[in-house]
Symmetry: C2
Subunit: 218 residues, 2 copies
DNA sequence: AAAGTATTCAACATAATTATTGAATTGTAT
DNA sequence: ATACAATTCAATAATTATGTTGAATACTTT
């Protein structure tokens, strides 16, 4: 029973951090928190978890340093502690997408016309916004839009997009974005827009990545 | 019993990938494989695991795409499939080191004089090597050195370093490196060298990071 | 100070992970 | 072909993670 070496001890800590990423519900919560600060029961209902269960997941992620919390009035608000956490999630996505055959199937199936939809890169969008050539559509729920969005973006939550279509200029390209690379809202928005004769594309990923790249935010 | 959404399915896959990182032994194996290709029982003994157990860990990491294997004669050799995997591990280290209080304690305790030892960055070392001002010491085991090392580096495994000391020029700075940022060999080598009057520092991380940065390798 | 609410805790049942043993494969080499 | 070695598989036991339920806490607000 030799005591484990300090280095093994260190790696055991890193393993604990990785374990905190190793649950789909927690990844969902992290994506939600990447948009904005949220309360426990807000998260619980958004992620379809019991409050107690959500609380447990949050506690665990706070323990490994992913999240910090503060009290505001009667509720406790959680947020992501550090952009490095989002970088870690992004690195996970990259490896997952690259290496796991099943992920390629899911991505290629449900997010089927991924390439056909020709995502616009942040740099491209940024340039075209400067030139005023493009309508930018934020298709996330209103609360997430309010917490921060791209400059000039119009909030059009998917359910209300159809109503708002008549207000959009038909002669300009539309770029839609939502929570991140695996958020389906933008895909569906682009499909709907194209059905109605718009020239529409989606941003390659979402608001958190835009913000993380230090691009301007409103 | 609504079936889980495709997006949740996708996140469940990512969670599986993260779980594969969530075990200290697997992180040790990954660090070993970052140095060079190795056989199962080679890894088992290096990581102090039973062969069957090591085989299980390897199988799991191959399943999530971290590793690939090939047969060579009688044994099966594993290696890391993609540099993105090492990026993921690095992102994990960064978050772990940044956010987990206990990690800071371990790092600050065992790797205590971390800052006092003033690590040299890859860029600094690269420059000083070009100017020929520095002796570069690879303190990893010989087999790892043979599989790839920094140009001009001298292999001096820690156990033999003391014997080799007399052959080192005393008027030049020495920079030692080993497997990565948490590998203790370089720390101990620097300590030993300083005891013997050398001006010694360690490289900020190790060989895999050097190689990943596309710097020249021998 | 009391009442009310959001959150956390504790205890449990179920499920998943880990390490061990020994047997079964799968290839190489004689 | 047969023997051999390296690796993988299968079955087990022990540990750890997950999600419920209902009760306890810790605040705010009145």
């Amino acid at each position: 029973m030799s005591s484990p070496s300090p280095k093994f001890e260190l790696f055991a800590r890193f393993a604990e951090v990785a374990k905190a990423l190793g649950n789909a519900h927690r990844l969902v919560i992290l994506e939600l928190l990447a948009q904005r600060e949220r309360s426990v029961d807000d998260l619980a209902s958004a992620a379809r978890l019991s409050v107690a269960n959500a609380s447990q997941h949050l506690r665990l992620m706070r323990k490994v340093g992913f999240l910090v919390s503060r009290r505001n009035g009667t509720q406790i608000l959680y947020r992501v502690s550090d952009p490095a956490v989002l970088d870690l999630v992004k690195a996970l996505h990259r490896v997952g997408e690259r290496n796991v055959a099943e992920v390629r199937e899911i991505v290629g199936g449900y997010f089927r016309e991924r390439d056909a939809l020709e995502p616009v890169s942040r740099e491209q969008l940024s340039r075209r916004m400067r030139d005023g050539l493009v309508t930018v559509l934020d298709v996330r729920p209103e609360d997430e839009f309010d917490a921060g969005h791209l400059p000039q973006a119009i909030n059009a939550p998917l359910r209300e997009l159809e109503k708002q279509l008549r207000d959009l200029p038909k002669d300009r390209d539309v770029v839609a974005y939502c929570r991140g690379p695996y958020c389906v809202f933008a895909f569906e928005a682009v499909a709907l827009l194209r059905q109605h004769g718009f020239s529409a594309r989606r941003l390659e990923d979402g608001f958190p990545e835009w913000k993380a790249a230090d691009l301007p935010v409103a």
